[in-house]
């Protein structure tokens, strides 16, 4: 996905860009609102991440302008304010969602998904591998057209494996994608989820293979 990050703190902006790049996202950074307008005039983005306090204006004014000009790129506000009244006011000004600094990237990703699901509905490309079909936004999985009921973490595990099939994913990598960084889990917890997904994909040609001492790989597509 392509993000526009509007954030005046250079260090935070760079770290967010590096972190999102690890998940394969492209991030353009604007330190001030006028830069952001320049970016928006030449490129299209899947999502805008907006800070509220910016040197050349208030992020809420940007939001108002954004909505008035009927630009439909969804906006998630990154707020450093935690006062309840600020949070209520943010959604009133037309932000799709907000996240309070410091934020968890797993939660940010979940919120991005929720926003895109609301905005785009089912008009998203599906991922398929063998007889498996996965709809990331609709959160459904079918095996040869037969719907399987997967829970959220199982879905995300399958998505990670399906977006890079036939490749070995280390336990720690899967763990980082699946669990919030603040959660006290051991990397072995991933085994539980692999077992569950295997069970739910019963009958598919695709299967999750254990590569002993390294990680897991989706094969058979």
């Amino acid at each position: 996905m392509r993000f526009l990050l509007i954030e005046d703190n250079a260090e935070l902006a760079h770290s967010v860009r590096d972190r999102l790049a690890l998940d394969g996202h492209a991030v353009d950074h604007a330190a001030i609102l006028s830069d952001a307008e320049d970016h928006l005039s030449v490129a299209t983005y899947d999502l805008i991440l907006l800070d509220i306090m910016l040197p050349d204006g208030d992020g809420r004014d940007f939001l108002e302008r954004h909505r008035k000009e009927r630009r439909d790129t969804p906006v998630i506000v990154m707020t450093a304010r935690s006062a309840v009244s600020d949070r209520v006011a943010l959604l009133d000004t037309g932000a799709d969602d907000y996240i309070t600094k410091p934020f968890d990237f797993a939660e940010l990703e979940a919120r991005v998904r929720a926003v895109l699901r609301r905005r785009r509905g089912a008009a998203q490309p599906k991922i398929s591998y063998g007889d498996l079909e996965f709809d990331p936004l609709g959160a459904t999985v079918t095996v040869s057209g037969d719907a399987r009921d997967l829970r959220n973490r199982e879905l995300r595990l399958l998505e990670i494996l399906m977006t890079a099939p036939d490749r070995i994913h280390s336990k720690s990598h899967l763990c980082d994608r699946l669990f919030s960084a603040s959660e006290a889990v051991s990397d072995n917890a991933i085994e539980v989820y692999v077992a569950r997904v295997r069970k739910k994909l019963d009958g598919s040609t695709a299967r999750i293979e254990t590569v002993r001492g390294v990680g897991y790989r989706l094969t058979g597509g």
Binding site: S82, A83, S85, V88, T100, K101, N152, A184
Partner: protein, 383 residues
């Protein structure tokens, strides 16, 4: 005695030289004899009453000899006293009447003069807690300095409040932005490390960052709740849709751990009169607690019911429960249960819920749930 005028008696005495010719010989003569043709007037006591006497002297020839003839005429004072008494009474009546009229008029005047002051005081008293607009009522010229002073004061107060709010917002910004950088860098480091021991250290760092951020925001929330308890803006709101909104807000975070937030809300609106921001704070803390302490793959049940004029909100989880701790202990500031383990928290969440329940004349109860977990019940009077 010469006849009478009204009740008064009149006496006379005529003297030739100093010898009484006729009349009352006791009638006193003037202390100094009149000079010329003008009479002298004086008051003297005669027959036990005060009389007013007029005396004249004339020189006449008696048998060729000049003789001084004095004529004294005296009158008692009863008529004059009566007239004076009557006049005094009338004057007194007139005085009292005038006083009464003047008093009534002055009360009316005072009222009409003070009415703008009272109106002004009432208009200022009626204002909501956040209404810091200047007073623009038309007032008599004499009151204008007061209104100017009041507006000046309102302006300064507003300035002070705005500065405080801005300060808190900026303080939060300045704390949270570097924390966000720290957390992001730590997450990136976690992603790039395979070493188990190092990964455990980084996770512990991230939890500490979350802990500080959470404490900061709950301290601010707690301060806001305490401030708003005195300054709340009551409005009529539908509790059902508020609960639904707060639950929706938590779903992405709960989904991450496969925790389901199940709601049972009435289809009809449940209206209460309360401060929206206070209630939102309480609900958020209740659900946040339930999500935090729930096990992975768990379920949180959120219910809203009406019972005997009260709206009853129940939030139940299947988490680690209270472990024998009492509600009174857990709602103390900075007090956390003995079984919190590694769950991040500041110990202010339940304190906030309790403060809100108190401010909205509600009740807050926290008990063990049958079969494990905690059951939090917040009940509020229906509006």
């Amino acid at each position: 005695m010469l006849g009478s005028i009204g009740e008064d008696r009149v006496f006379y005495r005529i003297l030739v030289e100093s010898e009484t010719v006729t009349g009352y010989p006791d009638l006193p003569v003037p202390a100094s004899p009149p000079s010329g043709l003008e009479p002298v007037y004086y008051t003297a006591e005669f027959q036990d009453v005060f009389v007013r006497i007029a005396a004249v002297e004339r020189a006449v020839l008696v048998a060729g000899m000049p003789k001084t003839v004095s004529i004294l005429v005296a009158q008692t004072q009863s008529a004059k006293d009566a007239i004076v008494a009557q006049m005094t009474n009338r004057a007194a009546l007139l005085g009292i009447g005038f006083f009464a009229v003047a008093a009534a008029l002055s009360i009316l005047t005072a009222r009409s003069v003070l009415r703008p002051v009272n109106d002004l005081a009432e208009a200022v008293g009626r204002r909501g807690p956040h209404d810091l607009r200047p007073v623009v009522r038309s007032v008599p010229r004499e009151l204008q300095p007061m209104v100017r002073a009041l507006n000046g004061f309102i302006g300064r107060l507003q300035g002070a409040l705005t500065r405080t709010e801005t300060f808190i917002a900026e303080a939060a910004h300045h704390i949270r932005t570097p924390l966000a950088t720290l957390r992001t860098q730590a997450e990136t480091a976690l992603r790039l490390t395979e070493d188990d021991a190092m990964r455990a250290r980084i996770r512990s760092m991230i939890r500490s960052v979350d802990d500080s951020a959470r404490s900061a925001s709950q301290l601010l929330d707690h301060a806001a709740v305490v401030y708003r308890t005195d300054q709340r803006t009551e409005e009529s709101l539908d509790l059902g849709s508020l609960i639904a909104r707060v639950c929706d807000r938590f779903r992405p975070a709960a989904d991450l751990r496969d925790i389901v937030i199940a709601t049972q809300l009435p289809t009809q609106p449940v209206t209460i009169v309360a401060d929206l921001l206070l209630l939102e704070s309480a609900l958020r803390n209740l659900i946040d607690n339930a999500v935090k302490y729930s096990h992975v793959d768990g379920q949180i049940d959120v219910r809203l019911e009406q019972d005997a004029g009260r709206a009853v909100i129940t939030v139940m989880d299947r988490g680690r429960g209270l472990d024998g701790a009492q509600k009174a202990d857990l709602t103390d500031r900075f007090r956390r249960g003995a079984n919190v383990g590694d769950v991040v928290g500041s110990g202010l969440g339940l304190t906030i819920v309790r403060e809100v329940a108190r401010a909205q004349s509600g009740r807050f109860d926290l008990t063990e749930r049958d079969g494990g977990g905690a059951c939090a019940v917040l009940s509020l009077p229906l509006g």
